[in-house]
């Protein structure tokens, strides 16, 4: 019950990291790969994001944006900096 509740409330106030702008600071609510169309199989994307430290509760901050179309982005995840494209970052829900 409480899980369902937190999931619902997360989806209300969360935004995908892929839509956030430079300077955004927040925490990861969930990794949601279902909407991810192109590229890797969804499960594989989820595993890779987790491997790079994108786990629920981790602090994230967008440090830099690419010069063209503000893509890719450089994200501080706890104590590491990870570069990824916005398309993949859409799977990371933050608030």
């Amino acid at each position: 019950m409480s899980d369902l509740f937190s999931e619902l409330s997360a989806s209300v106030s969360s935004l995908p990291l892929g839509q956030a702008r430079r300077g955004f600071c927040g925490r990861i609510d969930a990794i949601e790969v279902n909407g991810y169309g192109a590229g890797l199989p969804a499960g594989e994307l989820e595993s890779r994001l987790v491997e790079l430290g994108f786990v629920e509760g981790a602090r994230v901050e967008i440090l830099h944006e690419g010069a063209f179309g503000r893509d890719p982005i450089a994200v501080r995840v706890n104590d590491a900096t990870i570069a990824l494209r916005r398309r993949e970052a859409m799977a990371i829900l933050v608030s």
């Binding site: 595993s47 790079l52 430290g53 690419g66 590491a80 900096t81 570069a83």
Partner: protein
């Protein structure tokens, strides 16, 4: 008699995340006593070396490709997984795993340690770059960390003299442990699901929290540098400046050394010519052996300079930033952000360029880059372009201010670049249809590279080129010599010797094939020695058209060509040279770098098809427009 005699060296395998300083640690432990090779059948590099413990026990160290997990999503990571699990063919199972972790970035590394524990092999954790971490305010409770993880923990500073002594000293103790401690426990490792990865990461976070005090704010120097170096405008400008200097270095700084090497081998050849009786043996020593060895060595200056730059930039942590800045531009054509450096280097010469593709971790991206690198207009094409352009393109201005000859030259460069982008775009869709690799990589903190480690890296690259690519290049050179000089001309022959050779027989035989692209047998014959290196074709054309003086007489060659060829033929030859795989050394390096004939054959095939099509279209359009 003692019951147990230590049998051979103790096997230690290095595992760690990318950017954890594993290679620097490997270099610090083994110095120059290391071997770089490829695992059979794959493009994965195998690095191993030896070092000795204080008690004199020798330890065989295997440096495994960096990985975040044993899930093995690429051939590199499969090697790591199989080696760790002790099931890599031809490799002794490791007696112990040494997991290397960047002490300033332990979070992800600890998860890997927890995963490695499940393999059941003896395991040790090395906290690398411990000095940087302590300076930045990290505090480590090593006993607590070791107790929580259940593995011995040592500290190291790979980039400092004496920074690995603690580690080496601990080795004796670990090797001397009672045999029972060495017997691997049961392997309970299975590929983790994302839920398991999460759970392990939570456990790693808990241990990190308990044993390490992390300073509140990140590395301010890296932050400030990135503020400029990753800036949307200044970052790109600085990257272009860095690339310009690098290109300049490979292109012009290497030139004096290359000229010297060339002159040295020419002089040596001259010496042979002067002192050996004329005949087949003289020709073989002069044009086969000496010219063959020379054509290998001549690439060394470019390779050394390029890898010096690449290794410094890599160790600084800048290469990952360059990939970040270039990702969008290169990604549009289906190339990896890091492909920029190999492709740029290929303008000087495709050989260092193809070797530089090693900076790309992903195998597919690396193969795509290797495939298109030879399309970049290398410096060896310039003499051919200059010869034909100055002979056939009138030296006048168009649109009032643009030189026509320069414009054609520019067009040839542009054609090379755009065809490379097009080929990579097609390759990405044709060859790897399943799923493209997403761009995801860690941007490590900036670090001062250690000169010794960089020099070891440059040295091993050079050695590897000489040993592995050199032998293939050399044998191809001898083959080309053989084709161009066998059989010998009859006594008192009037025509140049090459006209009696296998090359001429071949050239005449394929004339029906090359007639539609406007090449007569003279050109075909010149193209065969031209396989040795593109610029050799200029001298070969001189030989075929019986012009004395070789390379120095290129003005004269131009005059003769202008009389013998139609404009359509000349343009077709230019189009041919944009694409044609006219360089045996490049093909040899592709074979070596990709670990087999397969990709060499693919490169050769697609390039020759493009060259034929390009020359065919050019010739026929030119003829239709009245230039035949």
């Amino acid at each position: 008699m003692t019951a147990v005699e230590p049998a051979g060296p103790w096997h230690l395998a290095l595992v760690g995340n990318p950017n954890c300083g594993k290679t620097a640690l490997f270099n610090a432990l083994t110095g120059s006593r290391q071997k770089v090779a490829n695992y059979p059948g794959v493009t994965v590099e195998r690095k191993s070396g030896l070092f000795q413990t204080p008690s004199g026990r020798s330890v065989h160290l295997l440096d495994l490709p960096g990985t975040y997990s044993l899930r093995a999503r690429s051939p590199d990571e499969q090697v790591t997984r199989d080696a760790v699990l002790g099931r890599l063919a031809g490799e002794s199972p490791p007696d112990m795993l040494l997991c290397v972790a960047d002490a300033t970035n332990l979070r992800i590394a600890l998860r890997l340690v927890l995963e490695l524990k499940r393999v059941g092999r003896p395991l040790m954790l090395a906290l690398n770059m411990i000095d940087i971490a302590r300076k930045r305010g990290f505090e480590f409770d090593l006993d607590r960390l070791s107790a929580e993880l259940g593995v011995p923990v040592v500290t190291s500073t790979a980039v400092r003299r004496g920074g690995v002594e603690d580690l080496i000293a601990r080795m004796d103790g670990l090797i001397a442990m009672p045999p029972a401690a060495h017997v691997a426990a049961a392997n309970t490792w299975t590929p983790p699901t994302s839920a398991e990865l999460r759970a392990t990461q939570r456990e790693a976070d808990r241990i990190l929290h308990a044993a390490v005090k992390v300073p509140g704010r990140p590395d301010t120097l890296t932050g400030r540098l990135d503020g400029v170096l990753l800036h949307p405008v200044f970052g790109i400008l600085i990257l272009l400046a860095v690339l310009f200097v690098m290109f300049q270095a490979v292109f012009s700084w290497a030139q004096p050394a290359m000229d010297l090497i060339k002159a040295g081998f020419d002089a040596l050849g001259g010496l042979v010519q002067a002192n050996m009786p004329e005949g087949l043996l003289q020709s073989f020593v002069q044009n086969g052996v000496i010219a063959g060895v020379g054509s290998v060595i001549v690439f060394l200056p470019q390779i050394l300079i390029l890898f010096l730059f690449i290794l410094i930039l890599e160790d600084l942590g800048y290469l990952a930033r360059a990939a970040f800045l270039m990702d969008r531009i290169m990604g549009g054509a289906g190339l990896h952000g890091r492909a920029f450096i190999p492709l740029l280097s290929s303008f000087a010469c495709a050989i260092p360029g193809i070797m530089a593709a090693r900076v790309i971790d992903n195998r597919r991206d690396r193969l795509t880059t290797i495939l298109v690198a030879p399309l970049m207009t290398c410096s060896a094409r310039i003499p051919v372009y200059v010869l034909i352009i100055s002979a056939f393109v009138p030296d006048r201005e168009v649109f009032g201010f643009v030189g026509l000859q320069g414009l054609v030259m520019f067009g040839l460069y542009a054609a090379g670049i755009s065809s490379a982008l097009a080929v990579s775009f097609v390759a990405k869709r044709l060859l790897w249809r399943d799923h493209p690799e997403p761009f995801m990589l860690e941007l490590p903190d900036y670090k001062m590279p250690r000169l010794k480690s960089v020099l070891i890296g440059v040295y091993t690259r050079a050695l590897m080129f000489l040993q592995r690519a050199g032998t293939t290049i050399f044998s191809m050179m001898v083959l080309i010599w053989f084709l161009a000089s066998f059989p010998r001309p009859p006594e008192g022959a009037a025509e140049p010797a090459i006209e009696y050779s296998l090359a001429a027989i071949l050239g005449r035989a394929i004339e029906p094939l090359t007639a539609p692209i406007g090449f007569d047998w003279h050109i075909n014959v010149a193209l065969i020695p031209g396989m040795a290196a593109r610029e050799v074709a200029v001298a070969a054309l001189g030989t075929v058209y019986a012009i004395e003086g070789g390379k120095e007489a290129s003005d004269q060659i131009g005059l003769v060509l202008a009389q013998s060829w139609s404009l359509a033929t000349a343009l077709a030859l230019l189009a041919w040279y944009i694409f044609a795989p006219q360089c045996a050394s490049t093909l040899a390096v592709i074979r070596r770098e990709t670990g087999g004939w397969h990709w060499m054959a693919v490169s050769f095939a697609y390039m020759i098809v493009l060259a034929y099509a390009g020359a065919f279209l050019t010739y026929n359009i030119a003829v239709a427009l009245g230039a035949g």
